[in-house]
């Protein structure tokens, strides 16, 4: 019980933190939140299903550009575009993942790298004359919520972290359901999963589509937070960061992934003098972790079932 109070206390302090942090640090927390939701959405694919997907930034990009284009050209309010960005990213994910869904391991990895690179090159090349080339799109408006314009870092803090909290709530339930378990069956053993009646191609595809839907919605939040987006925010290396957050935090573990976001996005802010060596430390951490603790810092806890109630 003590542990539970402690967790609530930490959450409370965290939600009040913008009151005593300066704008810079609130913005750092906002970035952590954005990365956390992205990594959680990747977690369905990579952590729960065990698919080596390193192109998640592509779905994030599709969502962000959907919002940017529709908002700047047709002035559709940002909040309306949240589901729309998610759906566009989900459709995109469906179309690209469908032909490659049967690929395994390393092959899937390299193809997903290909997808994120193709998307980035398409954006740079100003595809369909909509994406603004390498300069990107600017002048994206802020979200309006009940007459309040979400503009300051503190506003975004609550906007992002409440979105994150709702996502975590839903993801947690999903993990403890038929769907969540089926993804784990696939991760553990594809042949056995198929042999117990799981339509593995369908479930893998749903994992992709669901992950992309969430990444697309985060794309909307990101676009309205930055008000300007360009292809360099959606490179392969972004995908690598989400990938590392999931793997180092703990594949399949919601708490682990959030912790991973704090460590990978927040920690470097504390050591800004060493910014140059930051990636070097990341790389070393990846090797060392894989040798000594491959399951990540906080691996997923076992699911709990109410067996006694039935007996």
């Amino acid at each position: 019980m003590n542990r539970k109070y402690l967790i609530w206390a930490i959450c409370l302090i965290f939600f009040l933190s913008p009151l005593f942090l300066n704008a810079y640090w609130v913005d750092v927390l906002n970035n952590i939140g954005i990365y956390a939701i992205l990594a959680l959405s990747l977690n369905f694919i990579l952590g729960d299903t065990g698919l080596f997907h390193m192109g998640h930034a592509a779905f994030f990009a599709v969502g962000a550009y959907t919002t940017a284009i529709l908002n700047t050209m047709y002035h559709i309010p940002i909040l309306f575009l949240i589901p729309f960005s998610g759906i566009t990213a989900a459709i995109f994910a469906y179309l690209v993942a469908r032909p490659i869904i049967h690929l395994r391991g390393d092959y899937l990895l390299i193809v997903t790298i290909g997808i994120v690179e193709i998307v980035r090159i398409a954006l740079v090349n100003n595809i369909f004359g909509l994406t603004g080339g390498s300069n990107g799109i600017f002048g994206i408006s802020r979200p309006h919520l009940f007459g309040l314009i979400i503009r300051r870092p503190t506003h975004f803090f609550y906007y992002i972290w409440i979105f994150l909290a709702v996502s975590v709530f839903l993801f947690h339930r999903l993990r403890n359901s038929r769907f969540g378990r089926a993804l784990n069956y696939i991760k553990e053993d594809e042949v056995a999963a198929e042999g117990t009646g799981v339509d593995i191609a369908k479930y893998k595809l749903i994992a992709f589509v669901l992950g992309a839907f969430w990444a697309g919605m985060v794309g909307n939040i990101y676009a309205s937070k930055m008000t300007i987006i360009s292809p360099e925010s959606f490179t392969f290396w972004e995908s690598v960061i989400y990938f590392c957050i999931v793997i180092l935090g703990g594949s399949g573990s919601i708490t682990g992934v959030i912790l991973g976001s704090f460590l990978l996005i927040g920690l470097p802010e504390l050591f800004r003098e060493f910014a140059q060596a930051r990636m070097l430390v990341f790389g070393l951490a990846m090797i060392i972790m894989m040798i000594f603790r491959p399951q990540g810092i906080l691996p997923p806890p076992p699911r709990k079932y109410n067996v006694d109630q039935i007996n």
Binding site: L170, R173, L174, S177, R178, F179, G180, R181, A182, N184, Y185, E188, D189, V191, A192, A193, E194, G195, T196, G197, V198, D199, I200, I206, L210, P302, R303, Y305, N306, V307, I310, N311
Partner: protein, 254 residues
Amino acid sequence: MALLHLKNLTKYFGGLTAVDNVSFDVNEGSIVGLIGPNGAGKTTVFNLITGHYVPDQGEIIFNGQNLVKKPTHIIVSLGIARTFQTIRLFKELSVLENAMSGYHCRMKAGIFAGMFKPRWQKREERQAIEIALKELKFVGLDVDLNQKSKNLSYGNQRLLEIARALASSPKLIILDEPAGGMNDQETRELVELIRNIRDRGITVLLIEHDMSLVMDVCEYIVVLDNGKKIAHGAPEEVRENKKVIEAYLGLDEE
């Protein structure tokens, strides 16, 4: 009437004919053994029935439906469950979850039901746990249900695989060397279990190397050698069959 009817089943791997024009019937409510020397094509026949491989020729009629080219998960939902020769449990998941996984194909909840948990979804979850507990009890697996399945003993892992298969409420269960790695005591209990499964009205098709088990439990035996069916019939007939003796003796000479 035959529950499962194989007709002229053939499968090539490159130049090798793994299964060569094999036909046999599995009658409803029977226990049928598929035997033969190593490499005779027994597991390949299983993989053809369960849809892991697609046959190059022939038909597989189950309960009046042709299974050829149907994906595995559909075949499972039609009522064929299996275990694997090399145990294939979900190692990192708990014993209970492994047993529940069999019931997956009888459940409906998708992502929305998973996220919003309507009442029917909760009922369904509860039912899955009930079925899993029932089947675990049925196979006689009395262990901590929350431990990871990889921590079970070999014999218990085999039992858990059977429980998982039974949880899908199959009409036909296919057991690939269920006694592999079991000691004598466990094997005796397995014979009992196989009979109990049949007594529930589930037809059993099994591959086994332990001849005493096969002769003891099976009512009908099909013998494969080099991908071909060389004999079939009741255990006594097969035991006396000259071709069968040759096939097994020939193996010994090598």
